[in-house]
């Protein structure tokens, strides 16, 4: 991983739509809300799912205004369907 970039993981249907299971974003962003447009730009097929997605930062659920920093791991989570 590039020093200082944010690692983005995709799961389930989001990995299908993105066409990859992980990506890197190295732009200067401070929150999830700022990160998302860059992810969407790289993987436009994710756009229709936006309303259904949840996010985790470093393995814990996070919301749009929550901070992300270089070196963080952000996970893009479709509706869970375990059980």
């Amino acid at each position: 991983m590039t020093q200082g970039s944010i690692r983005v993981l995709f799961f389930g249907a989001a990995a299908d739509r993105a066409g990859v299971r992980e990506a890197e974003v190295s732009a200067d962003v401070a929150t999830l809300d700022e990160l998302w447009p860059l992810v969407e730009q790289q993987h436009p097929d994710l756009s229709p799912m936006r309303g259904t997605l949840a996010f985790a930062v470093n393995g814990e659920y996070a919301r749009g205004g929550d901070r992300v920093s270089p070196g963080d791991e952000v996970a893009v989570l479709p509706p869970v369907s375990g059980g």
Partner: protein, 144 residues
């Protein structure tokens, strides 16, 4: 509290989990096993389910559900095991075992655990059909 929380890739040994939960200070062990169900109308075509998890977050969420149970009920032993990978029809995808001195809390806590798993644990399943797959809950897949 005794117990275990795990994501596994092998068949779940339900009998072993129940045995491990039996304790002289408990009168009740409530066990829930989720199995892969094939709707009768689909039976010709759904071949199996395939689960994936975001680990280690999923492992930690199972442990958190155990901690929530410990806060709310007098549970002396809680085990939650979720299988990932291919799970054939009728096989166990998840097993929850709760031992309590009394049966009311054992039933309530095991019910709570399966509801919470379906809400917060980052695990996803897809139905694999003869002609493609569909991610359950997202309606995204390769079937036309």
């Amino acid at each position: 509290m005794a117990g275990s929380f795990a994501i596994v890739e092998e068949p779940i040994d339900v009998g072993g989990l129940v045995s491990a939960a039996q304790r002289p200070d408990c009168g009740a062990v409530s066990t829930f096993v989720g199995t892969t169900r094939i709707d009768e109308s689909d039976e010709a075509s759904v071949e199996y389910l395939e689960y994936e998890a975001y680990r280690p977050m999923a492992d930690r969420k199972l442990e958190e559900i155990g901690a929530e149970i410990e806060e709310r009920w007098d549970a002396r032993h809680v085990s939650i095991v979720h299988r990932i990978g291919r799970v054939d029809p009728g096989e166990a995808s998840v097993a929850i075992v709760v031992a309590s001195p009394r049966r009311g809390p054992a039933f309530e806590a095991s019910r709570y655990a399966i509801e919470r798993i379906k809400e917060v644990v980052p695990i996803w399943k897809r139905e694999v059909w003869s002609d493609g797959y569909v991610w359950v809950g997202s309606q995204v897949g390769t079937r036309s």
